[in-house]
Point group: none
Chain length 225, copies 2
Amino acid sequence: MPVKIAIVDDKASNRSIIKDKLLRHTIFEVSLTAENGKDFLDKMKILPLDKLPSVVLMDLEMPEMDGVDAVAAGSYLYPTVKFVMLTIFDDEEKIFKAIKAGAFGYLLKDESAENIAEVLIQMHENGVGPISPGIAHKILQLVQNNSISLIQKHIPEKDKTPFNLTEREQEILKLLVHGMQYKEIGNQLQISPNTAKKHVLNIYAKLHVNSKAQALALAYEKGLI
Amino acid sequence: MPVKIAIVDDKASNRSIIKDKLLRHTIFEVSLTAENGKDFLDKMKILPLDKLPSVVLMDLEMPEMDGVDAVAAGSYLYPTVKFVMLTIFDDEEKIFKAIKAGAFGYLLKDESAENIAEVLIQMHENGVGPISPGIAHKILQLVQNNSISLIQKHIPEKDKTPFNLTEREQEILKLLVHGMQYKEIGNQLQISPNTAKKHVLNIYAKLHVNSKAQALALAYEKGLI
DNA sequence: TTGCCTATAATCCATTTGGATAAGAAGGTA
DNA sequence: TACCTTCTTATCCAAATGGATTATAGGCAA
């Protein structure tokens, strides 16, 4: 099956250059192009499911909504889609923000414009996010400069089931936290939405809250997630 | 002039395999081999200056003195020497420690044993530290998991309003995150619940979500709060 | 001045929630 | 066996939410 790609760049010329390069390989199919983040998200919303791209090549600097925001929203709304930044910027701030926002890879145009296709094929084969050597090198330097630090997450671990939630309830809480509604939860777990709702209400009772929003707030605050 | 290399590995077989591979290219010259960190530092001390290696290929796990300690000491004593880790370990802790200690590159044996020579030539040409794609990918994930954080040396900078939310909208998002409903928000801000709702819907549009739960999830995940 | 953006407010309507309550099936336990 | 918990499903109803649209007022900029 073909690999579906989306291209987001404010310059029409860039879009067509990239598209041409990709289409030289028959594996690729360009299912969407957009000229900024907002345009991209709008078009994604009305895209038929079978056209959902598996990879999005995203420019960083764009009018209306830039690449960072687009990746932030997009990686949340479409968790299965891989976002690869393809840009000319290599300053630390931008790299860091983009990665933080959920970028799966980060390529510099001048380094890799020639062989985008090959890089994407590799990524498709070994599941490893593509990173330009220059970027990787910069990250290394950030670490060495103490600009970056490893945060040790101390997990209470021995925390017995919080609030006496049953296994099923915890499972459902996890989905709840992703903003799903009863229907979707039911779907996901292969149970009736009514059942999903019942579980959710049971969770409310145990957490002593009475709305999704409150449950999420508590879950996040107490680190139940 | 030739590129002088040092090879540090506790297994004699590894040393000779790597050495053979390098010597196939006439640019390389192996000026030193050692079987652990201590051995390496000792030999460096008595090495004539004109034999000083420009690159050290360093194994991580070794008896007596391991790669991390050797790099830490070596990169201090010989600042011009580039230390490249060449190992089979890819766990976060080790990667991070080695980089922190001053490693200039980090290669996984199984990924790049075949083309060590090419990678080193590239490094010599463009001055960029070599990193295996798998390692780069791991670092990316560390950043995304919030296990790593960028330490802001200066002021957090006027962090650009995320998603172009207006001040009022950010204010309302904060209340939203506490699980408040329209009525309560209106109450809190001394505005009509209708207005509160209008703001909330505007926020949804900007975040490209369509429920409180989703907005909260996004806000928490991306740290907008 | 005209136009744009923001904040404010309201209405209509469909959908989604939250709350209460009932009840069957499966599993473990006293 | 009788009892308890959990997971499952359902229905009724009221409240809250989401979506679309309209409208007014103030501030700011071309």
